[in-house]
Subunit: 372 residues, 4 copies
């Protein structure tokens, strides 16, 4: 019996669009998916670019008008990798058309927009997903499983980080990422640190923020310069519902750092340490180990850490960034077929947005804020 | 204008078969390939397995008879991931039929068979490739470029290693890998260490081998046990044509090690250190650095190290094992289209086989041997 | 000509007392000191312990009364390693007697006491030192030199840490370190993180604190339990006079961590990363390095990094904790002889105390505080 | 009751002499030694240098004639840190005078001389020690204890290394270390790798050597150049009495390496990995750990690993190179007092010398040799 189809319309041909296609192409070869993915239409404002990318990436059709995708009854899932400012309009249109929606992060520049999108999706009963791919790492799943199983005991302290240097050069031009509506290091990459923190330790209840703009002017690309208002680094103290406390930092001017998405978690029985710089490894300390033999243990991702074994035959081979996208896609396809929960749906995307805005508000008002 | 097609017939549905399909599916989305890959037929001795895998992996047809692939004029490339003992017969048949051949390593259990295959391929003028995927790592390309550019000065010393623990358990059953014809740790994984050594430092001229069997009996799977003759670890001293000396070790009983494919290279001006355990990183020491500021520099793979940038937008995202397969496939497709050299053809596969056998003979005879 | 003598009276025979003696014994053999150190009297409340330790550690005399040391005109320097609560009384007595004072950190439980001690010492013109030994590490000196020389450009971000797990066990008894007067993780070990931050980046001007008590009851050693009020972890956001911003954390319940005295500093031209876990190493990233060759450089302590070369003949040998004490002692002896500045005098100890209290106050009041 | 004295006469004021004095000064403060060490006489061919060093290092007397030390009935132990070529004459004289002898490694340039020294010492019944300080590391003691306790199971494979770059510069002048009588990388630093190998895995029974001279001419310091015959790197395959096999390398032209005294040991139940670059750490892999939780565990030196706790109060503080010398001295003093075995006596020094010469002979003759 042939599997039901899942026909994809993708908006955007940039890096993230390509990464999503990689996921769509790879997921069915790696996982036993309940639906057959079909790459139907690729949209880009530039018709030629759309046509060329469609040919290269394996889409049957292309268009310069994203609304063609919405209007097409042969499309089941709309995948949005267009600029952040367009996410809301596109997603609402897709939801209204009853299509499942896969949207790159951030869901929308502002939490109130993300809320509108989330409520529309829930009202319509369609499936949604936001692209928080770092959470698809089997070693993060392992960390979460270990915490839930009590292998660390009661969690006490958390330290999270997402630092890169891609905005460290003050001569780098002003872009949409520097736009006050939703931009800044905290929103852009600190959001990953927040997503990981809640994924592992559960809800954050209160925050105290510290958002700082270090590069106050950037070239406007026309020979002049433009004032920057968004933060270059955003820090926060955290309180978790489970009683733990912690901190995170999002930083895009961390000279020399390319992917310092790190965390350390301290519990009463053990601890975990992780760096995305070596994301096939999780370090685990257990107070159960014998005296004189204790130490952080370097666990390498392997077939014991599902779904790693579907990708590689043995530990040591290692997953790459694009493999995480395949895991993300597979989770969403399974959710659409009703075989599992949505991994990271709009409501969770909204949640991260809310955390970001609460931290920003806390920083502005210089006081602790509850996360509502 | 439509691209010419490259129609694939794949023999084997195991881990490596799946990895190759991953490469075929991924390469065209990542690279601008001159040919359009089409997955035509998948062969497996088990007809049901073949049919099921074909459906899952995206092949149009399946068969229980690999000779169907040879006989099919609609197939351009035969990809062999069947057990080592069958490589020769399959490859010779494919070559005779004028098809390009992609064969998993080792080319054949014995160098004399590999020679026959190589000569047949060269006589017929078809393109060949052997799967030495570790060499497709951009950081190994970087290492080689640095060496060729003289950034290390004159090379003096080399230390190579490929150690795993997948045969460390003496209760693990006797398999084809323990068969005297071509088996053993040196042939199986030491071959990777040898391939990397020659890739970086050029031809090896003389060797002194030390091959050791530590686990002398293994369960035969029928309640009894079977004597093992092949080596569990194989070491060699090396002489290179460029005047350098070195050593390698292949070891499949290295308890705790999953992918210790490591090397260190020492030159008059600098040094490199690498471990496959973190294969998106290359460590570089330069005597040109200022006094008091010298040290091994941890270079992370990024867009400066082609073709990394085709996979990921920035350093830190990292490639995985399967991405290396995509690079391997892309190189072969470009070679078939005449756009580049074969990356690692049968003659080079034969070369590694010859090195392995020379080391084994040296170990047996307990004296140095020239590599012919 | 014989060197003038520097006659030592030491109060305390615990671990720190022993470490100081190690420094006194080692410093003159490593450095060309202008004074001849003589271990004169060792004081401990337990006369037998004092006598025994004096014999073992090489003191000529011992006493059960620390005031004997103050009263002895043959003593030039009083070294205080007694419990924190006694520092003030002892130091003031020594100062009044015109003796130089070497005091373990913290100078006193409260900044107002530290101020009194500092002003007394300055009024009397004697030399003082507080034991912030981590700052005596040649690699921290290197870091500071690099920053002052502009090798990192303008400093933008700082992340500091001092985490251990020695209070992680909730069954560990209540001690003087849990006493509200000056106790807690921030005061005890976060103070090291603060000292390093100012040593490297200059004055901190504003702080926002977050001090948390996770273990609220500890055994009182008599079968009951005692409420704990001091923090188990203290965090702070920081503003520096030079325009940089940063954060620090002091944490004594960081399960598995033994000496995570770490920092990262990001500047416009480069970055530094350090961990006390490998304190003979400093990691340096420079944007001046060639494209495609950039990366954090692992600089190993060596003779280029004074005074390392006085201890070991070559890089790689490595200093230990006790060697840092020797460097600390040597600096103080040279200052006493007028050959150099005091390394870390009472005023600087007071400064750290002030920072700690400002952070604690900020945490209590939940708002930013200026450091006065 | 006063302890009996152990009066020291030291020959040599170079780096090693200073390191020994450091040990003599530090050991009694750290350990409860059964003898009271007294630094009596320091000898150096240069009378002024001797006098100055004696004053600085704390010796009561100095002399320009080492035979004064031999002749002095008030000296119990002769410590030889003079050039290698003089070791034999000095040691034989000291032995004849009935003094205990502490001699820097190598015992003598040639094994036959070391044998003569060893037999003389044994005939006279005096105590001897050779300075293999790396073995005094508590983490090496831990490794050995773990192996003896069976925590690794049966040992199968060993990989040892001692690589530095201090002879990497071809413009470095010819020195006594390049002299054919006993010089070369294998003798100089490969000897450490051999000492560690036997310390951990027991007797080596057979070897196959590969000694290579890469820098064939060095400046003679008079404007000309001198031919070098000794090896710049020496490698060996090894067979151990316990059935294990292994390899070592000594390399003094390993550009960028300062102290790569590393080993990995693989057993049937576990493995150890160590690098002197971080010598307060031992990495331990155990197959007893739970599935999915296995990994190399980073054990940090602490009070559980005697005698670390005598130096530092807690893990994380770390020992330095000079502390290893203190441990070495303490062991010897205890042996002299009859409280323990000699740690590493002349017979063991002879053993290493024999291993070195057997490997050199094997390399020359290009065949395996038994170690007699």
């Amino acid at each position: 019996m042939a599997k039901p189809k899942l026909r994809i319309g993708l908006i955007g041909t940039g890096f993230m669009g390509k990464a999503h296609v990689f996921g769509f192409a790879s997921a069915p070869r790696v996982f036993e998916l309940p639906l057959k993915i079909e790459l139907r239409t690729l949209a880009d404002v530039n018709a030629d670019a759309a046509a060329q990318a469609a040919r290269r990436l394996g889409f049957a059709h292309s268009t310069a008008h994203w609304r063609d995708i919405i209007a097409d009854p042969e499309i089941d899932l709309v995948d949005i990798t267009a600029p952040n400012a367009l996410h809301k309009e596109m997603a609402l249109a897709a939801i209204a058309a009853g299509k499942h929606v896969y949207c790159e992060k951030p869901l929308a520049p502002l939490a109130r927009d993300a809320l509108e999108m989330t409520e529309a999706a829930e009202a319509k009963g369609i499936k949604t997903q936001v692209g928080f791919n770092y959470l698809c790492n089997p070693m993060l799943g392992l960390a979460r499983d270990m915490i839930l199983a009590g292998e660390l005991g009661e969690i006490r302290g958390y330290r999270g980080l997402h630092a890169e240097d891609y905005m460290a050069d003050a001569k780098g031009a002003f872009t949409f990422r520097h736009d006050p509506a939703g931009g800044g290091a905290l929103a852009d990459i600190g959001s990953h640190a927040l997503a990981t923190a809640e994924y592992l330790c559960g809800p954050i209840t209160r925050v105290m923020g510290d958002c700082v703009t270090m590069i106050k002017q950037r070239p406007d690309g026309k020979g002049g310069s433009q004032a920057v208002e968004v933060d270059d680094l955003g820090r926060a103290f955290l309180r978790f519902e489970n009683g733990a406390t912690g901190s995170i930092e999002g930083n895009w001017i961390a000279t020399g750092r390319k992917m310092q998405h790190d965390f350390e978690i301290y519990g009463t029985r053990g601890a975990l340490a992780f760096s995305q710089e070596h994301f096939n490894v999780l370090h685990f300390f257990s107070t159960d180990d014998a005296k004189g033999r204790q130490g952080f243990r370097r666990i390498e991702a392997g077939p014991d850490h599902a779904p790693y074994g579907l990708f590689c035959v043995a530990a040591g081979h290692q997953l790459g960034f694009n493999d995480l996208k395949a895991i993300e896609v597979a989770g969403f396809v399974q959710a659409i077929a009703g075989k599992s929960q949505e991994n990271f749906n709009f409501r969770k995307g909204l949640r991260i947005q809310t955390l970001v805005e609460t931290i920003q508000a806390s920083s502005r008002d210089q006081c602790w804020k509850s996360v509502t």
